[in-house]
């Protein structure tokens, strides 16, 4: 019933400029908070190297790659790597 839900949802909750603003803010604020976290010193070099590898295959801007080390509590650390791809940069064909 996804399609029906979609229309029902649309009807009582139109996409307003305010909801667009909220969505954009949530993304940018999460991103900037991540960048503020104390990160290991090898991260800038790692980022540079990974960008170089990626660029052998696809076009990516510096901003489209984000890497952070996240402490998930206790001993568990997760290295998160996020690569944003834009359609113009890698056509599907």
């Amino acid at each position: 019933m996804a399609l029906l839900d979609y229309f029902l949802h649309k009807k009582d909750k139109p996409v307003t400029t305010a909801s667009k603003a909220k969505e954009r803010l949530q993304i940018i604020v999460a991103h900037e908070r991540n960048n503020r976290k104390v990160q290991p010193d090898y991260l800038p070099d790692l980022t540079k190297d990974i960008l170089a590898v990626l660029r052998k295959y696809i076009q990516v801007s510096d901003e489209s790659l984000s890497i952070n080390l996240d402490n998930k509590g206790g001993e568990l650390n997760v290295l998160e790597l996020n690569i944003e791809l834009h359609d113009e940069q890698h056509p599907q064909t």
Partner: protein
């Protein structure tokens, strides 16, 4: 021990000075000893909003440089005897303050006053950092608008990393969200971020919501902080903020658009 409260925002023109003036005089009217400090070196304005601009002789920088004593520079408010204002310098540049001297001035003020309210300049540079460095609490003044919310979040980052409390690993600065220039009607119409939206994004406790109000301009024209206009929506909203700062739990007001009466609806008021 004095409570040092910084009124900060990152973005300029969101209502820091308006809020500092209203909250400062509001706390003083409750019988507390309050000093308001203008940290906006080079762009002093708090004196104007407080209506004491003609009485400025010495300023904050004169005190820092040892050219005047604190008592010479402090201006006693004419309306409330427990309130004083320490004006910013109009001529010096914003790097005229240094941490050590500011710390000394705050310590000295702390011997006399219960509340030290620091009106921060805009930005995230030296001036704004100086205003927040010694704070125990921060009133993060935010407009329901994308760039203001983003800047407020950056300031939250600074409070957590660049303040004295952060550097010394003390209990963190207590953060308060003050949403100003709020227009419930535009929120209903989906044109403006709602209180809940901003709370969701910044996730700090809400201290108050000040509606967009014509009373604010009237108040600054007259040099009478808007909280003294007891009939006005903004004045009442600031009074609620003061009561909350003092620990009362007060319901939030002015969050929904005023329903138009039948006459104004009929005649398009």
């Amino acid at each position: 021990m004095a409570r040092i409260i910084v009124v900060t925002s990152g973005k300029g023109g969101v209502g820091k000075t308006t809020s500092s003036a209203a909250i400062g005089i509001g706390l003083a009217l409750k019988g507390h000893k309050v000093v308001l400090i203008d940290f906006d070196i080079g762009l002093r304005n708090l004196d104007l909003i407080m209506g004491c601009e003609r009485r400025v002789v010495y300023d904050f920088v004169n005190v820092i440089k040892g050219e005047a004593t604190l008592n010479q520079a402090l201006i006693k408010d004419k309306r409330v005897s427990t309130l004083s204002i320490l004006p910013a310098s109009q001529t010096r540049d914003k790097d005229a303050l240094d941490k050590e001297s500011v710390g000394k001035v705050l310590t000295e003020l702390g011997e006399t006053y219960d509340y030290i309210i620091c009106d921060s300049p805009a930005g995230i540079e030296a001036g704004a950092m100086m205003a927040l460095y010694y704070a125990d609490e921060a009133i993060v003044t935010t407009n329901p608008e994308v760039s203001s919310v983003r800047d407020s979040d950056r300031i939250l980052g600074m409070l957590a990393s660049r303040s004295r409390r952060a550097e010394l690993n003390l209990e963190p600065i207590k953060e308060h969200l003050l949403l100003t220039r709020y227009s419930p009607k535009r929120v209903t119409e989906g044109e403006m971020l709602s209180v809940e939206d901003v709370e969701d994004i910044l996730s700090i406790p809400l201290l108050g919501v000040i509606p967009e109000s014509q009373a604010v301009l009237k108040a600054s024209n007259a040099g009478e902080p808007v909280i003294l206009d007891k009939e006005s929506d903004a004045g009442q909203a600031y009074q609620d903020v003061v009561n909350r700062l003092l620990g009362d739990s007060v319901d939030f007001r002015f969050l929904v658009a005023e329903k138009k009466g039948i006459f104004s609806r009929m005649f398009g008021g």
